[in-house]
Subunit: 358 residues, 2 copies
């Protein structure tokens, strides 16, 4: 079989579908073969309207329901790491992307073709380049070119979350705190000012700053500020005249990017602070009727999503969003990643039941 002939059988067994998705390589930028196969599978379902945008595929029901739900997952993976093809061992599907997030894609694709008459209209989005630079992100491209396709009352991102609902996501900010000094020969350091020595104060403040909890919709978003890089050094006989401390702030979705920036600047008022990236988070929106009924169906407690995910792209488009997918998020991007069969089945069952609830 060549990749030209990849045929998915999305209505058959969920485990076989997950393995088939894993076994078609789809590293970021090379999702074409997999996108073709997914598109063919969706077009075979008469209840879906299908559109192709780059290597992303959007499939929608058009039943005129009062509510519309968006269910999204990315097709791409990080590069392979000796973890292909897939293996089924002890109730787990192992292999590249099994956890992040072909297990979730399998659940969405299976649901798409086997639930022809949901009580809420559904827009399924299978998109490219989530693991690549943000500018190539397929969901971002759809939001820019065809924003109407992402409209809905609630978005569910199949991000691995252990089968639990993780509401919204935190924002993040990366900044360089620049400590200045003056160069000198290390044989006469008193003629200069050692920027690395002065950076002790910056690192001490980071070390002493506690995490802060922000509660939204009952979920606890835990804000934290970390040094992620320290760089100083000219030569082994030179007192360095600059020390760069790169910090990463994770902030609650109730805080704006501007507020996050002010928070970092207030901590380092006497240093240069250069913000290199700041991205807003996403509010959980769990009070929305669609979210509330999904939570009721699941019967588990939701928790806050602390890492940033593409739910923020929905939030930016005005759609409350949550993360719900099979797989342990801490296994993402590890060579030994896997998705438990039990979670594949439980998330599929919950989604299907919810979409058929009156």
């Amino acid at each position: 079989m060549t990749y030209d002939e990849v045929v998915l059988q999305p209505a058959a067994d969920l485990v076989e579908l997950t393995r088939a998705l894993v076994d078609v390589p789809s590293e970021s930028g090379a999702e074409g073969v997999l996108a073709d196969a997914v598109e063919r599978a969706l077009r075979a379902a008469p209840h879906l309207e299908v559109e192709r945008i780059g290597h992303s595929v959007v499939a929608r029901t058009a039943l005129g329901r009062a509510e519309r739900v968006v269910i999204a997952g990315h097709l791409d993976t990080v590069p392979a790491c000796g973890n292909l093809p897939s293996r089924l061992v002890d109730g787990r599907v192992y292999g590249l992307g099994a956890c992040d997030m072909k297990g979730g894609v399998a659940v969405a694709l299976h649901t798409a073709v086997t639930v022809p008459a949901p009580t809420r209209d559904v827009t399924y989005v299978f998109y490219e380049c989530e693991e690549a630079h943000t500018e190539r992100n397929g969901l971002g491209r759809i939001a820019a070119e065809r924003p109407g396709l992402l409209a809905g009352d609630l978005a569910i991102l199949m991000e691995p979350s252990g089968g639990l609902v993780e509401g919204g996501c935190q924002g993040f900010l990366t900044a360089d705190v620049i400590v200045r000094g003056a160069r000198a020969h290390t044989a006469r350091p008193w003629q200069g000012v050692n920027a690395a020595h002065r950076a002790a104060e910056v690192l001490r403040r980071l070390d002493e700053r506690d995490v802060r909890d922000v509660v939204i919709d009952g979920l606890v978003y835990r804000e934290a500020l970390s040094a992620v890089a320290v760089r100083a050094g000219v030569a082994s006989n030179v007192v360095p005249d600059a020390c760069l401390v790169t910090v990463n702030l994770r902030f609650a979705p109730s805080r704006s990017p501007k507020e996050a920036e002010a928070l970092v600047r207030a901590l380092f008022p006497e240093y240069e602070v250069l913000v290199t990236e700041v991205v807003a988070g996403a509010l959980p929106g769990l009070a929305r009727p669609a979210a509330a009924s999904l939570l009721a169906r699941l019967g588990t407690e939701p928790r806050a999503k602390l890492g940033w995910t593409d739910v923020a792209r929905f939030a930016a488009a005005g759609v409350p969003a949550l993360n719900l997918g099979p797989g342990d998020p801490s296994l993402a991007h590890t060579p030994g990643e896997y998705v438990p069969v039990a979670e594949l089945r439980s998330v599929r069952a919950a989604l299907g039941d919810w979409l058929m609830m009156a």
Copy 2:
């Protein structure tokens, strides 16, 4: 004129000789043409016995004097930086290596050929690769292959020292202080230990440590410990699990390398300390009769040499050594380096007078 035909006239004007030496490029590893010219000039002096070792040249008087003095200078320079050919402006010779140390080489070469009957025997050493890796150093090669050639009661290195005697030199030690932590995602930093934050304590100790003065032969050696590099960083969303602080200690020549290492380890008892390089300094030996008479002739106060120089190679061979050369050491390796004509002449006069003193 091609370089094959470079003819130096070392007995003629000192300024012209300095300019001629500057105008023959001799970046480390490419000293051959200059070494050839210096060798020819020395062989033309009947009072000198000349030997060639690689691109280093040794010339000796053999007058059976009670004392022998070694006068040494390196032929090589750092790479050119738009500062060739030489220029004579306002009483200064500008150009690559004018300060470090072709001015000093000119003084030594002029002295070698114009003082045929010194009252102390003299060994002149013009050597290669001082600005390169220590393993290529021409003086080191002579010390290893022909140690007898460096024997003497006192060594004078033509290191730029503003025409003053700078006694001995300090040793230096470079070490990595390694602070360990545990990786975590920056969205959950409390699951790890931030090594960069922990490094604040290492940098604080460096910042609070004062310099320490050690007096030897009346000269003040000022010991200092500096961070010269800080390195931490895995990715912008990862709590770093290691932070490496590279420190450079300059220590008085009365302290052994082992004592220097113990000093650094005592400051950081709870961290891994990896010594990457440690080199002993050189005692000034200014009480030696030869040194005392030179100082008396100069009539200026000696001072301690704080940076490390090749005088330490003489010290390791049991020969007390001092630095004495024209030029401001802070101009070494700068594009605008120059040597003042007045210092060329004063150092040449002092050396010549001293070598002819009864």
